[in-house]
């Protein structure tokens, strides 16, 4: 009953004319920057921060939060239409989403993503409202050792998830891990693998690598095959998923929401794992896993729901603990402090109208995103009819602007071009870039957590086995690998995966 009272307080705040308008502006801006490759929520929120000085804190945060989850919606649009993941969380959407677009089902893919996200967003809002406080305690059980084991498990799943040969996938993950070690050593300040290049001293930026191996490489690949463009251009398909599509999507959406929601709560950017985990699960559960990677609707519905659920439950550690789980949330901490609200465990009791108002606004925002996005799906799909000779330069320019805006380093743009060539080479040699990106995203955290766990345990590797949660996660990882590598299964797998 208390939850109900809280939510009604929240809706009272969120449904004022002014806050609805702010929420709308936030969602619209968020969708737009999500669609533009490279221009991410971090840059946008920091640019808009001073504009919110004049607003009351609740209104300001409602708008900024709208930008954040709006960008998650928009990001999948780019992933599906032009095969560029704008955010780490939309990497898997490129796998099947873009294939669907190529088959003339771009509209259905976008519609499914929007509806799945809406559902996930609604559920996540309820989770935050009802379980936010108790769930925080769960997150606190995770120390460095548990995180490390969780990520080992994630990478094992990634090997199994990959298309093509296990060996190639394994190599790509290792390469990703290697890329993640470039930069200044966290403990000693020693520069590693930088070859004296100053801009490498902080490592390779995610967007530089992702835009390169996905964006630039994709453009290169498309340029060489002129006939491929007509496939996408010719058929747009209807915009709303049909009854069959919906039936196929219901279960993946439910599962994706659950997985994404749980992983999103974990501090340390667990939300990144959500879409990957969901994709793997759908592939494992599918009657015919060979459809994955060739335009399976479950491969869009599940990860997209997971992505949105995770994006929202990521607010739980911020709102209940005051601890930001990722870079965007760190920026929200900044936004809150600028408005005189220091995030912490007491925000809920000291600023109830802010806390509950923001949560209620998330539901309002999700509804708005659906209303904004479903009609826009038609418009986004029309983008595909833009001739590629116009679209490619535009994609490249937006990528370059986006990359430059991350750190204001011209060399970053040059590195992206380099990774573009590298990505093209990978495609030619039949390597999947997605596992590499996952290895890269998790590598930084993995190294950090491994070293933290070992420093705390004074160098004893037993710490990973002695702690029950960590041990459990490792057991799952070993099982997954064992199953994938068992001769009988791996043979079947090869038949299924090799084209």
């Amino acid at each position: 009953m208390e939850t109900f009272a809280h939510l009604s307080l929240g809706f009272g705040v969120a449904l004022t004319m002014k806050n609805i308008a702010l929420c709308f502006v936030g969602c619209l801006v968020g969708t737009l920057i999500g669609v533009l490759p490279g221009v991410g929520p971090i840059a946008t929120i920091s640019i808009l921060l001073p504009i919110t000085f004049g607003l009351d804190p609740t209104g300001a945060l409602i708008m900024l939060a709208g930008i954040y989850y709006g960008a998650q919606y928009g990001g999948s649009t780019t992933a599906i239409l032009v095969n560029i993941p704008g955010e780490a969380t939309s990497v898997v959407t490129t796998l099947d989403g873009h294939q669907m677009a190529k088959q003339g089902r771009a509209g259905v893919a976008l519609g499914t993503a929007a509806i799945g996200s809406f559902f996930a967003g609604c559920v996540a809002t309820v989770i935050i409202a009802a379980l936010g406080a108790p769930l925080t305690k769960l997150a606190l059980l995770f120390g460095p050792a548990e995180y490390f084991s969780l990520m080992v498990m994630g990478l094992c799943f990634a090997v199994v998830l990959a298309r093509g040969s296990i060996l190639k996938a394994f190599c790509m993950i290792m390469l990703g891990l290697l890329f993640s070690t470039v930069g200044t050593d966290l403990e000693t300040g020693q520069e590693r693998l930088t070859f004296g290049v100053a801009s490498l001293s902080d490592g390779i930026d995610f967007s530089v690598l992702a835009m390169g191996v996905f964006g630039f490489a994709e453009v290169l690949r498309n340029l060489e095959a002129p006939e491929a463009r007509d496939v996408v251009k010719g058929k747009i398909g209807r915009l709303l998923p049909g009854w069959d599509d919906i039936k196929q999507s219901i279960a993946p959406v439910l599962r994706g929401t659950a997985i994404g929601g749980i992983l999103g709560i974990l501090p340390g950017n667990g939300a990144v794992l959500g879409p990957f985990a969901s994709y793997t699960m759908e592939k494992k559960l599918a009657k015919d896993p060979s459809r994955f990677g060739k335009g399976a609707i479950e491969g869009v519905a599940g990860p997209e729901s997971a992505n949105n659920a995770g994006a929202q439950t990521a607010f739980i550690p911020l709102l209940t603990l005051g601890i930001p789980p990722n870079a965007v949330m760190a920026l929200m901490v900044g936004a809150m402090t600028i408005h005189g609200i220091i995030p912490g465990p007491q925000v809920m009791t000291r600023n109830p109208e802010l806390f509950w108002g923001m949560i209620a606004s998330m539901w309002v925002g999700n509804l708005m995103l659906l209303v904004i996005n479903l009609p826009l799906v038609g418009m986004w799909v029309k983008l595909l009819q833009v001739p590629y000779r116009l679209m490619f330069p535009a994609i490249l320019i937006f990528c370059c602007i986006g990359i430059y805006s991350v750190n204001n380093q011209p060399l970053d743009v040059a590195f992206t071009a380099l990774f573009g060539l590298f990505g093209y080479l990978l495609i030619k040699l039949g390597f999947e870039p997605a596992p590499m990106l996952l290895g890269f995203v998790l590598g930084k955290l993995m190294e950090e957590k491994l070293r933290q766990a070992l420093i705390i345990s004074r160098g004893s590797f037993f710490t990973f086995i002695e702690r029950p949660i960590s041990a459990g996660l490792l057991v799952v990882a070993v099982l997954v690998l064992a199953i994938a590598l068992l001769p009988s299964i791996s043979k079947k797998r090869d038949e299924v995966f090799t084209e």
Partner: protein, 324 residues
């Protein structure tokens, strides 16, 4: 003919106006480099102060986040920019006082190679520990840490960060450099592990830890300032609690490249001073737990003296700390 004369007159008038404008700094937006990611304490202070300074100067101050290498990338870029007054930077204790001893290959000289403008604000440093850490107060803490140096874990936000710098100084004061030091990427993750009890203690800015202390999810031993903070009036100063040698404050201040025109320096100093006297700006800063700078510290010379004083204080401990 008449038209021609009129044309000349207009051109001349324009030329005069143009000339006058070129003298009246600033004639175009000013870039303020923040050498950290958006949303951190330095970024917040920079945005609050720059917002008001823009009004005084009549030109927008644009914040550019150039993160990297503990903030030295951004400061390096700012102080090597053309000294025309249109590129300045908001640095902090780490980038100005600690960097020379932290980064042996530092590309700039904070003592002689830049033009200081003034201090924007100081932030007190707290010694905090996990809730159930054995020592009851600071005296206990000192004894315990000295006796169990090989068992205690200290968390910090990475080499060169404020928490690393101030905690290294603490270890220097205590004479216990052997304490296990666990590095995190940023204060957030470090604080998370302190709340959940994975690590034992850390030193950090009041703005980052105050809410956790108030909520009793972590405990504070002392504040390393001369006076108690109104944000946490119950926390004693290090002087009161028996460790008077540990006095350090994290601060943020503005500097630019050496050789800036005097007019630009004067106008920036004036704009900073006006911002710090503005009621709205002042309130925002005080809400963050910031200590407003003294009149002396708001001047280029006063700020330069502060940079030097803290560098002298930090250098012995930082040079002894393990790094590259």
């Amino acid at each position: 003919m008449k038209k021609l004369i009129l044309g000349f007159a207009t051109a001349a008038a324009l030329a005069v106006a143009g000339g006058a404008q070129a003298q009246g700094y600033p004639t175009k937006p000013i870039t303020m480099i923040v050498p950290f990611a958006a949303g951190g304490p330095t970024d917040i202070i920079a945005r609050i102060v720059a917002d008001n300074m823009s009004k005084t100067l009549g030109q927008q101050i644009v914040i550019e986040n150039v993160a990297g290498a503990g903030g030295t990338t951004g400061i390096g870029r700012a102080v090597s920019a053309t000294p025309d007054g249109y590129t300045i930077a908001m640095g902090h204790l780490g980038t100005f006082s600690a960097a020379p001893a932290t980064y042996p290959g530092l590309k700039y000289d904070p003592f002689n190679g830049m033009q200081t403008i003034g201090l924007a604000g100081g932030t007190p440093i707290l010694i905090v520990a996990r809730k159930n850490f054995e020592p009851k107060d600071l005296k206990d803490f000192v004894t315990y840490v000295k006796a169990n140096a090989d068992k205690v874990n200290e968390a910090h936000a990475g080499l060169g960060s404020v928490s690393w710098t101030t905690c290294t100084l603490l270890k220097g004061v205590l004479g216990t450099p052997k304490i296990n030091s666990v590095a995190y990427r940023g204060t957030g993750p470090a604080l998370n592990d302190l709340v959940s009890g994975q690590v034992d203690f850390m030193c950090d800015q009041i703005v980052s830890v105050a809410e956790q202390v108030r909520a009793n999810t972590i405990k504070a031993y002392a504040i390393a300032s001369a006076e108690r903070s109104p944000a946490l009036p119950d926390v004693p100063t290090t002087k009161e609690a028996g460790l008077p040698d540990y006095q350090i404050e994290a601060w943020n201040g503005i500097a630019g490249p050496k050789g800036m025109p005097k007019e630009a320096v004067d106008k920036l100093v004036d704009a900073l001073n006006k911002a710090l006297n503005d009621e709205g700006t002042k309130k925002r800063l005080l809400d963050l737990g910031t200590v407003l700078p003294t009149a002396e510290e708001r001047t280029p010379a006063g700020f330069a003296a502060l940079i030097k004083r803290d560098a002298d204080k930090l250098t012995p401990a930082l040079s002894a700390a393990p790094k590259q």
